[in-house]
Symmetry: C2
Subunit: 208 residues, 2 copies
């Protein structure tokens, strides 16, 4: 309804509304991770919300003093590119090879819907998360790994068991937690040991 | 998996994790509004994410200078009480009578999962949104009305048509936009006129 009458309004507002309507599609992008009651797969929009609230509730565990609100902004936008590029499962090596190119094109198109000043701001936030170099990006990336870790613990192994993921690969993936929120690392290690004991995760050293 | 071993960890962290796991349930709370492609109803977690990004993209339309990040925090938390209280459809007068009491109890329980300092902070954010008195709360409440308005326009009337909602009730509901983001009001009025012309909305004055 908005587009046919777009000539009646300020083009800046129309561009903002086009972006906002486009965002709605992120609610259709399904991740591999399930909700904690295992009823269905999580989508990337609700995942982004969950991470943003987690960042507020857990900011004290950041490795360096951070601007929590800035980390929240990074998390709100970090998955928007999946509208075009789809969700890339972190343990799928083949898809991860083409991920960068697909996501760069998506960022160009989707943030490009906005008026230039906002497009630049939003794109910079997405680039910052991807680069993972600022304290806020590092903490945000820690949250992005820690949340599916919690979900996998709650769903008796979830995607680890479904795809036979080994302890080594989980530990490798969770390095982001060690970097951005090292105070959570003790919890992570203990829970991984329990997940192995419970058979939720394969200890590939033992099974080799 | 987390709770049985909670004695091994700092009780503060365990309380934070219990809150974070509880948040997951907001993804199961369905609103009356549909996604813009009408494929399914929207849930309150993805709705909250959408509003938070909208607040960043549209902050220039606030009626007074606002701290955008503060408005984002209000929006991220404003629906958390629905985990216990359910979503109350804005045009359902009966449910709205019991809404306040149900949501107060929910706020008490859910934010009460957190360590006291965080519980106080989160509860204050929720109270501020509910009171709607600060510029940030007024802008946040404008976003909370403007987003389903956009969805109803995109879905050929959506909940307006499904429940036979009249122009007067929509205008009444959208007063929050007039208060918190008056620069969007011209757009709202024009689109309502078009929605009536298209039969998406009943002009109850004409039909009376």
């Amino acid at each position: 309804m908005i587009l046919p009458n777009s000539t009646d309004f300020d083009p800046r507002l129309i561009a903002q509304l086009q972006f906002i309507l486009e965002l709605d599609r992120l609610k259709q992008i399904l991740r591999q991770t399930s909700l904690t009651d295992n009823s269905r797969r999580e989508n990337s929009a609700e995942h982004s919300w969950h991470l943003a609230v987690m960042a507020i509730a857990l900011s004290e565990y950041a490795h360096k003093p951070i601007n929590t609100n800035h980390a929240v902004q990074l998390l709100l936008l970090h998955d928007v590119v999946e509208i075009d590029a789809g969700d890339t499962f972190c343990f799928d090596e083949q898809s991860n090879q083409s991920k960068v190119e697909r996501e760069l094109q998506a960022a160009q198109r989707i943030f490009g819907l906005l008026p230039t000043d906002l497009a630049v701001t939003f794109r910079a936030l997405w680039d910052e998360f991807e680069a993972g170099e600022t304290p806020e990006a590092q903490f945000a990336r820690a949250m992005d790994c820690f949340q599916p870790f919690l979900h996998n613990l709650q769903t008796q192994g979830g995607t680890w068991r479904k795809y036979g993921v080994s302890r080594e690969r989980v530990l490798q993936r969770l390095q982001a937690v060690k970097i951005g929120a090292p105070a959570l690392w003790g919890f992570v290690e203990t829970q991984i040991a329990e997940a192995i004991a419970a058979g939720y995760l394969t200890d590939s050293v033992q099974s080799a």
